[in-house]
Amino acid sequence: MKATFQILLTGACVCLAACEPRERAEWSPDGTRAAVLAEQRLYFSDGEGGLSEAVADEDDGPGRFLVDAFDWLPDSSGLVVHRVRLTPKWEDLAPLLAPAESDRVEALAARVPELLRAAVAIHGDSDRADQLLGKMAPGESLAMGNALRLALARDAGAVRAALSNAPGVLASINGDRESLGFLLHEIAVLRPDQGRPSEVIWRGLRGVPSLRVSPKHEVVAAAFETEVENQYDLQVLSFKGGAPLSVASKTSRAYDWTPDGGSLVYLSSITEGNGGLVEIERRRVLNESGKVGEALPGAEGDGELAYAIVAFAPRLAVLPDGAILFASHPAPLPAAAEDLGENPRLYRLPADGGAPVAVPTEEGALPMDLGYFVPSPDGRRVAVVESGTDAVAVVDLESGKSELVSGPHPGWKSRVLPSWRNAEEFTYATGDEETGRVRWMLWKDGESRDLAKQWPEKITQGWMESRKANP
């Protein structure tokens, strides 16, 4: 049983954003172009493999920004992006923050030498000062990072003196000194065709690992980091700015809008950690006019809809008919050991209630870490990848029939979610064993072609992990 808990803990740690498939190349709702994220810069690609110049990473504000996540506007005219703004001077960044947040950084900066001494005493030496400090204040990693840099700028001698017993941390500070900067998170609306600068709708020191734009209204839902790993605050923000409206706390990163764009369906872990026993909830979040109010309006049908067991990254999607697609491990208990299935399955929860219905896939047709799937726009099929290989499959949600589209190729692990261009075509990444390149393939009717053949290699290289295959 001890090993079982180690499995659970390890599995939760494995599923960090850096080591799992995520949205990096996404088609616009009208299928005319794709937004491509490479080295934290955004590009646009047309349907025939062309690639634009990188979208500007500066505006009339200080510093530059690094894009982390994005989602298309429903009319395909632009994107909502989460980005990190990096500036060399605290004096330029501080005015952009709410006073409470900038005051917090100032207060922490004044205590950095003490905090470092305490952190070294508790945790010992480390490779990085910001990670060491982050252990002292979970959920405030960015505030701590800014405080460290501010303390170094104001009194580097005091900081170094506090690290006399931590040569590793001291070396990291000395080595990183030139690349240090001050950071904050932003959510902004980007409309590249209008030639206007992006419109910032939120700024702060909390990370935003995911966001999703309402399909009907100028509202975006976002998961904000908390002090507890793998627990987030789900909030909605209007494109017009203003205070975010809290939908739920202690949720996972898995949520989606209902087709009318007014309610959110989300997964919340009942057990601590990433996944485990989860509940699926639905809440009306916008009022009748589609605006973000000061409180959740609520509606009939709000509440807990189902429970599930999730081994890896939680994920759900709302289909066009309002049904909720999610993965769960079937675990009818009590059961003999040999009767327990190894693999999770996909389930559909009807929009108007009722029991979840399993998609009738064969045993082994779906990956063990079933948390990386994307339904087609018409809700008939789902494209599936996994974190452990670059295998890609497409599954018919009605019949359960699955088709292996690509892979697995030895030594390759996908870090890109598939994206449907329309109901018949989707793109995915795969590794080329001969050239070592990462290809971006467009699949239709059993055939695939490479859309990224003419792209610079650096664009797709970060989309997969590779290692030399064992002979």
Binding site: L9, A337, L340
Partner: protein, 146 residues
């Protein structure tokens, strides 16, 4: 009453932590609410099944292994719920994930592996096992395609 509140009351009742008066009120409320009565039945069945699984190993993992997770701020019945839910997950998944070790692996002493024959040999997906250090390792899939 929300589903969570109902679940908490039923668990307290199963643990004998509900007063007679409160239990009577709960039953009276359920009598007037057929849909909640059905839900209560489902919850009670799940609680009964989980209690058996938890009771099989009640002590040896309750202390050290619980703290392998981020320490929860829990009330007594929530700690039980968490333990039970983890037991559900552990029994259902741990056996499956350990399948890759195989029955004849000496490192499997004291552990039970589910049969791996259920997964077709041609499945392209990776399979996982736990190594000696408790790290989740991936076994390369059986089928490889160009």
């Amino acid at each position: 009453m929300t589903t969570k509140q109902l679940e908490a009351l039923l668990i307290d009742q199963a643990l004998g932590e509900l007063s007679e008066e409160t239990a009577a009120l709960l039953e009276a409320w359920l009598d007037k609410s057929p849909e909640h009565r059905d839900l209560a039945g489902e919850i009670r069945r799940a609680v009964g099944h989980t209690e058996l699984a938890v009771a099989s190993r009640p002590l040896e993992w309750e202390t050290e292994e619980i703290f392998a997770f981020p320490t929860p701020r829990v009330r007594s019945h929530e700690r039980w719920r968490i333990a039970a839910a983890v037991a559900i997950l552990g029994v259902a998944l741990g056996l499956g994930y350990l399948a890759g070790k195989g029955r004849n692996d000496p490192r499997m002493d004291g552990l039970t592996a589910a049969k791996s024959e259920k997964t077709p040999a041609s499945s392209p997906w990776a399979r996982y096992r736990v190594d000696d250090k408790g790290r989740l390792a991936m076994i390369l899939p059986n089928k490889q395609q160009p």
